[in-house]
Symmetry: C2
Subunit: 357 residues, 2 copies
């Protein structure tokens, strides 16, 4: 019991695991991966799964259908981890920080395809000032902000087209424009599927309109991608005019996604196992061996269940910081050094995520 | 830059650290440790620091004034880590889970003083059914719930005195009553120091009244302790009648403690360093290389600053999930594999916390 990372747990029944334990149902993971791939096939879109929720080689292998090609990462720690694990065609979806350029350069030299985001003239200038060795160019996605309000240049910004032109045509021996990238994380603020689809439609339209304007201006822009699990779980037909999508959370799904309508409760692959270790009758409460450090507090202010629901006991509610499918799988996964993957009630794999930045 | 845990950062100026980086000001840590020790000396109380905020050998050495004796831990992972690091007199402040009894037994045999909590007849029964080898007894603190509403038996509960008697006198060759333990975590719901002190006074009175009742019933109860950083930062005179206190967060302090009045802003030792990597003029926002995974979301719904404040720039507010002293040091520390401890602007120590449960 000393180590959650001990592979001696392989083969153990779930009931014997140390708690709190993050568990993943393998059949559900496979079903989620397959349904998303099928959805993309039907739309003629490439699926480039985001790996930030699970941060594991095994999860990304499943999500790429075993090709290990074409993923999105959120940190350079992830980029190195997946590169070392045999992955390629990796998109680092974060405006390149100046102080980490050397790391990006190293990855670009090591991989066939290491792609970066640019959303400002300063970002492009940084790449131009630090060219890759001969035979390699910086592969750049222009990040668009189509209403999400985080990183990205607005497609309506007069500088956006000039920036795209500078990326595509400014120094073609040093930099290439791969495509345009928009993330519709604003779908997480929606209350139903029609509202999510309206955002997906607007984001797609804004991206495609921008690509058309580029084409009319003589700027080649081979790729266009949008992402977010809510929008990709119920894609709108217009999305078929993109080339890629990049959802990530869908491999696990969670309580928040269930409330958004992205999945059915039985499609949630993640659970945190906990044990009841006390009963306080006078206040009608159970004490569990799992608090915020096993769950995170994400989602605490959302929905009737808060940060977690107790499976099979809808009448029980987590209170204080004691509380289990998870409201926010990314945040919960970040608290665990190992994931116990199970099938037929037994542990069949141990997945160890990368951490840090 | 590949590894946050690389000791090559020793001696580096803070400005060169990889971001996000959790940093601790050594002089502030020492001052916080010394002031709490001085407060306890003045009251004639032993300070048994709780280590759950920092989870490091170095932090606990500082907090115990170098004795490495007398700490409180929240997990068995911590208990093993500190035992292996030369600590003893360790109190595991969590009702012993049945499935982890073997681990507790092992620690009790290894250490001179490994102490456990009991708050129910079932908890005591578990210990009695699993006696330690000859020469060792289970050292038990009876956990009281004096209004905190988590673990603990209420001192007003008719069963409380019977339970204390059973611990102290039921099988003295197997089990010993060390004392009574109450945690006044309900001080975190206060809005000012007088309200915190009222809870500290009530908790102390309830504990002492229970100890008096035990004495009158012929039950020896050598120790009595209460804890929480807010109550111990402004102790009331009545607390001098206890034998110990067990605050923990005070070594770092944080934004929440500042708002509670536990400390002055300059006593907060913890910061998360982050860099500005983008500027979005049209919405007046900066993009930082630190999101929830470097901060946690604890405190998001508290106070004007939410989960963090940007030092030196009170007019800046963290929005969305991007945001830096910290609202909740325990939660933020849990996100970082290493803490950069600095003095005179340079890294002088790297502290690596224990994780897991």
């Amino acid at each position: 019991m000393d180590g959650h990372t001990d592979s001696s747990w392989l083969g153990a029944p779930l009931e014997q695991l140390p708690t709190p334990a993050l568990t993943l149902d393998l059949a559900t993971l496979r079903g989620n991966a397959e349904r998303m791939r099928e959805r993309c096939r039907a739309l003629g879109l490439r699926l480039r799964p985001h790996v930030k929720t699970h941060k594991t080689l095994e999860g990304a292998a499943l999500a790429t259908g075993g090709t290990r090609r074409g993923i999105v990462v959120s940190t350079l720690a992830e980029a190195r981890f997946f590169a070392a694990g045999g992955f390629d065609d990796i998109l680092y979806a974060f405006p390149v920080p100046r102080w980490r350029l050397a790391e990006c350069s190293e990855l670009a030299q090591r991989l066939q395809q290491f792609q970066v985001l640019v959303d400002s003239p300063q970002g492009l200038e940084l790449l131009l000032q630090n060219p890759l060795p001969a035979g390699k160019r910086w592969l750049v996605w222009l990040k668009l902000d189509c209403g999400n309000g985080r990183a990205g240049i607005r497609p309506s910004d007069p500088e956006a087209l000039a920036l795209a032109r500078a990326i595509a045509q400014g120094s073609p021996e040093l930099v290439a424009l791969v495509g345009v990238y928009a993330h519709c994380g604003n779908t997480y603020g929606c209350r139903d599927i029609p509202a999510i689809q309206a955002i997906a439609r607007d984001t797609t339209a804004a991206v495609l309109e921008f690509v058309t304007a580029l084409r009319q201006a003589g700027i080649a822009c081979p790729q266009a991608t949008i992402g977010s699990t809510p929008s990709c779980s119920h894609p709108v037909p217009e999305m078929s005019q993109l080339t890629e999508v990049h959802p990530g959370n869908y491999l696990f799904y969670d309580l928040q996604q269930t409330q958004l309508g992205s999945c059915r409760p039985e499609e949630v692959a993640i659970r945190v196992l906990t044990r009841v270790i006390g009963h306080y009758r006078h206040r009608g409460q159970l004490l569990l061996d799992c608090g915020w450090s096993g769950l995170s507090l994400h989602g605490r202010d959302q929905g009737p269940a808060g940060c977690a629901a107790i499976e099979g006991h809808p009448q029980l509610r987590p209170v204080s910081q004691l509380s289990v499918p998870l409201s926010q799988a990314c945040a919960t996964a970040a608290m665990h050094p190992v994931y116990f993957v199970h099938a037929a009630g037994k542990v069949v794999e141990l997945w160890r995520p990368v951490r840090g930045w």
